[in-house]
Amino acid sequence: MKCKKCKENAVLADPALCKKHFLSYYEKKVSDTIKKYKLISKSDKVCVATSGGKDSTAVLYLVQKFLKPKKGQLQALLIDEGIAGYRDHTAKDLKKFCSENDIELKIASFKGSFGKTLDKILKSGRIRLKPCTICGTLRRYLLNKHAKGFDIIVTGHNRDDECQAVMMNLLRQQTEILARLGPMTGMAKRKGFVQRVKPLYFCSEKETALYALLMGFDVSFNECPNIIDSYRADVREMLNNHESRHSGAKQGIIESFIRELPKLKKQYSGSGPAICVKCGEPSSDKVCGACSLAAQIRTCSNTVRI
């Protein structure tokens, strides 16, 4: 297959583009998303939530490229959950990337914040929640806490991640959570909540992997070992199977969702984060999910520092 813009061999079939034209296409798509949804402004202090994986490394690279930040304007933030054989590898890749690109990197860990690594929390068997639920709750808490002082948190969520989130919440009838999705998360600006934005919103997982590969980013393409029995993994497989038979299905979901999103945000604009009475972080309940979990972790440890 030849590139639709020149005579070189294509590296991607849809759209058919060679390496050079694919890289331009991908970067333009990200840039256009940032501009259209006003995700980042030139004066913003930006915290990029990074894992060392392909998505967050790509978005970190592009934010630095587009923003051309002054000293102190850009920070990478890694939440180290403590997943042996996985996070230690991606953290090593991230440290190298940040060092080579002169990007400040801050690391916050579950062990330092809650007294235990995720591996140990799961091994204790005391918390009867799925690994992704525990990890996601604690990770979001630490992201917001350690991004204080920044205007926005940039995440590497891609189109496939968003499609999965839309489908999961539809299947579970969680329309209020649906209203928090989109290129700019949340319903409205809330005290204590650092706005999260997703510049890769319209880039597929495959496109993002291809971008990372062609750019030569030193990233691993490994999956978190805990995702195997997750609901997300099932939804992801369903969507990938459907996409392979009906090309354009995922894009269709996102386009439809984006059209309906303003109505959802309006409908749920009165609800949203209040303040957790224990830690002072944003919460939809009196006590936030992280504090509830920390209390459960405390039953098997006395070193919770929340």
């Binding site: 590296v11 079939a13 062609l214 999956e223 996409e243």
Partner: protein
């Protein structure tokens, strides 16, 4: 043809002539979830393969 499926770590020599798409079909791999690198270059599903090629199949699904 030498073939490496990075996700599973499977590496073996197989006899195969045909397109990348036909190889993926034979291996029961969903094209939506992978990138194919032939002799060091990323290729599309219509690319022809022969027994002298080295093929690497990378999973695009990473993270959690």
């Amino acid at each position: 043809m030498e073939i490496l499926i990075e996700k599973s770590g499977m590496k073996e020599d197989i006899l195969f002539t045909g397109s990348v798409g036909q190889l993926l079909s034979r291996l029961k791999i969903n094209p939506e979830t992978i990138l194919v690198v032939k002799n060091g270059t990323v290729v599309t599903e219509d690319e022809k393969l022969n027994n002298k090629d080295t093929v690497k199949i990378l999973s695009v699904i990473s993270g959690g």
